[in-house]
């Protein structure tokens, strides 16, 4: 497809991003505020040779996505908090079987049914820790309609490269806002695909990693007849209750993300060069923060923004570096403090101030201006 321009909402940009990324299977279940993604995929999948199936619940949606992914088809689901809670066991299965998939969470107010039509960033820790056991995932936090498109493609690329579920964590405001979207010519979009095995089937060990800690992935229905299980397994894929097998496996599953963090993490630095006060934000609050920083600079306060485009793996190195350059850090997030604790641990002893807003509207620019002034005068 040649370059196209749309004026559309974040949810639809996400769906178009998935299609551009090569997604050809969507397992869905309606939920506010992510329904538009399912609706768009239901329209578009038959047009591009893919399949849309609406399931009986979110558990079936994500589990079917894992099944589709094992055939080599890029696959995705999209939901919101209550659906993510139901999906969490399957996220663990995807982690353990190293299945590439993209899980979009358009974050709404919680806990429980909460405020379905209002935004929040309450699921940041859930994305990281929601399934049981010790594991790492990747989570991206887009802040605009264009990024809903771009970061969905990046989510697919990362999930394919590291064979891991990737969350697209967008607050409801980003999901429902309408902005200009540029869909590049398809030849200008860089796509990645999982490594396939090249050895003879008799020598194939489905969970033997390469140097990058990621094993090549055989596809279902090819000459490689393999076995995959959520049980702790050795390189052959066979279940094992040996202590050393468990230690080796989960250490590798963690390290393939953590040791590649520099290749995964993306941040945006805004007016940080001479900053004394840094705001750290992601998603919609980061847009308010940019406005606020421009405003306080008019008053002579040297402030800047570190916008996290990736929250998991946590951009630790970026925060550590920042903490050596600025005098104070403000974390503005649309919750009662989640990434704040990660920032505080990484930035220590630089003071970190938390600016919370656990409700529908993100921090407004003038509220962030006020916070920066207070921190500046303290």
């Amino acid at each position: 497809m040649p370059k196209r321009i749309m004026f559309t909402m974040g949810d639809i940009a996400c769906a178009e991003g998935a299609i551009s990324a090569g997604c050809r299977y969507f397992g869905g279940y309606p939920i506010t505020p992510a329904t538009e993604i399912a609706e768009w995929m239901a329209r578009r999948m038959p047009e591009v040779g893919g399949a849309y199936v609406q399931y009986e619940d979110e558990i079936a949606s994500i589990t079917s996505v894992i099944g589709a992914s094992w055939t080599g088809t890029k696959a995705m689901t999209a939901t919101s908090g209550p659906g993510v809670s139901l999906m969490m066991e399957a996220v663990g299965l995807a982690v353990m079987t190293e299945t590439p998939l993209v899980l979009v969470n358009i974050m709404r107010g919680g806990p429980s049914t909460g405020q379905p039509t209002r935004g929040q960033q309450g699921d940041v820790m859930q994305a990281k820790w929601g399934s049981h056991g010790d594991y790492q995932i990747i989570a991206l936090t887009p802040a605009s309609v264009q990024e809903m498109f771009d970061e969905t493609i990046r989510a697919f690329n990362l999930s394919e490269r590291y064979r891991v579920p990737v969350f697209l964590l967008a607050d409801e405001t980003v999901g429902h806002m309408r902005e200009r979207l540029v869909i590049p010519d398809e030849k200008d979009i860089k796509l990645e695909y999982r490594k396939l095995p090249t050895v003879d089937p008799s020598e194939y060990l489905p969970f033997k990693p390469d140097d990058d800690l990621v094993p090549p992935m055989a596809l279902l229905g090819t000459k490689y007849q393999f076995y995959a299980t959520g049980l702790t397994h050795d390189e052959r894929g066979y279940p094992s209750d040996k202590e050393e097998v468990q230690i080796e496996l989960i250490t590798r599953l963690n390290n393939k993300i953590l040791k590649n963090a520099d290749k995964i993490v993306e941040v945006e630095e805004f007016m940080l060069d001479d900053a004394e006060i840094a705001v750290i934000a992601y998603g919609t609050p980061s847009r308010s923060a940019k406005r606020a920083i421009k405003d306080v600079r008019q008053e002579g306060i040297r402030a800047g923004l570190l916008r996290l485009k990736t929250v998991w793996p946590f951009p630790e190195r970026h925060v550590v570096d920042l903490a050596t350059k600025v005098k104070q850090i403000i974390v503005a997030e649309q919750n009662l403090g989640q990434i704040y604790y990660m920032v505080k641990a990484a930035a220590s002893p630089t003071p970190v101030h938390l600016m919370t807003k656990p409700a529908g509207m993100p921090q407004l620019p003038q509220e962030i201006v006020q916070m920066i002034r207070e921190v500046h005068s303290s």
Binding site: P46, V53, I59, A60, G67, T73, L93, G221, Q225
Partner: protein
């Protein structure tokens, strides 16, 4: 058969994964045998072209890791959902789910009826042993009223599902119920199921002497199979009556045998119109 001649099923199995973890007297070996007999009767020299999906519990260990095929062992109850995604992405694969009654009909019951309603082209084989065997004998969705289990110490106050009638009513194209005491009929039914388009469901009553026979006092493997032999076989075209199953009144045979349009066929029509 000479002493050196291998059993016909060995060519379909991963020998390094044997022996199976099943208890002495378990019916799952008979189901394995009948399934592979059906595969051989259909002319498959190996299991290429098949994908096996299972959930959690003893029944789920029939295919995985034992079948020398693409076998995927998923989370509890979700085998059918996993298999549906797999089938949508690779319709040419012969996708088979083998699991137990707790996995398919309790935690996975919703997926079972919805897959039957969609009439998606899957073959589902349910090893029904009337109990949660792997966890040591707790009441399940098929346990008869009054049965004693480790979590119904005073007798089961609930009524069981009749799985064959449930899945037939939900819309499957082919549904049959046999037992491990009817291995020939079971293998024939599995053959029909593998060839039939749309959703096929084979319920196999399978003895669990360790967890069910012992606690329910229905006895050892031989007594349990003796009970299976007393069950009535339905006549062809006999109307289906609905009643709460009991150990005495359960019937065997075919409960649905039709060729309604499958989910994949409906989707293909839509895709052809849209492209």
């Amino acid at each position: 058969m000479t002493a050196t001649e291998a059993h016909f099923a060995v060519k379909y199995l991963r020998e390094e994964a044997l022996p199976t973890p099943f208890c002495p007297g378990c019916g799952n070996g008979i189901i394995t045998n009948a399934f592979l007999k059906a595969v051989q009767d259909l002319g498959h020299e190996d299991l290429h072209g098949f994908a096996f999906v299972s959930g959690i519990g003893c029944g789920a260990w029939i295919p995985s890791p034992h079948f020398n095929a693409d076998t995927l062992h998923t989370t509890h109850g979700r085998a059918i959902a996993f298999a549906t995604g797999l089938k949508m992405a690779r319709p040419e694969l012969n996708v088979v789910v083998i699991s137990g009654d707790g996995d398919l009909a309790a935690i996975g019951g919703n997926h079972l009826i919805h897959a039957a309603r969609r009439n998606i082209d899957l073959t589902v084989i349910c090893s029904n042993n009337y109990i949660y065997g792997m966890t040591g004998g707790q009441v399940g969705p098929t346990t008869f009223t009054g049965d004693r289990t480790s979590t119904t110490p005073y007798g089961n106050p609930e009524r069981p599902f009749d799985l064959a009638r449930l899945v037939a009513a939900a819309g499957a194209n082919y549904v049959a119920r046999w037992t491990t005491a009817h291995p020939v009929q079971m293998a024939r039914a599995i053959r029909v199921a593998l060839e039939r388009k749309g959703f096929s469901f084979i319920e196999v009553l399978s003895q669990c002497p360790t967890a069910y026979g012992r606690r329910s006092r229905r006895g050892d493997a031989i007594r349990l199979m003796g009970w299976f032999k007393t069950l009535r076989v339905r006549k062809p075209d006999e109307p289906i009556h609905y009643q709460t199953p009991t150990a005495e009144t359960l019937d065997l045979g075919v409960f649905a045998d039709r060729n309604e349009k499958t989910f994949s066929e409906s989707l293909a029509e839509i895709a052809a119109a849209r492209r």
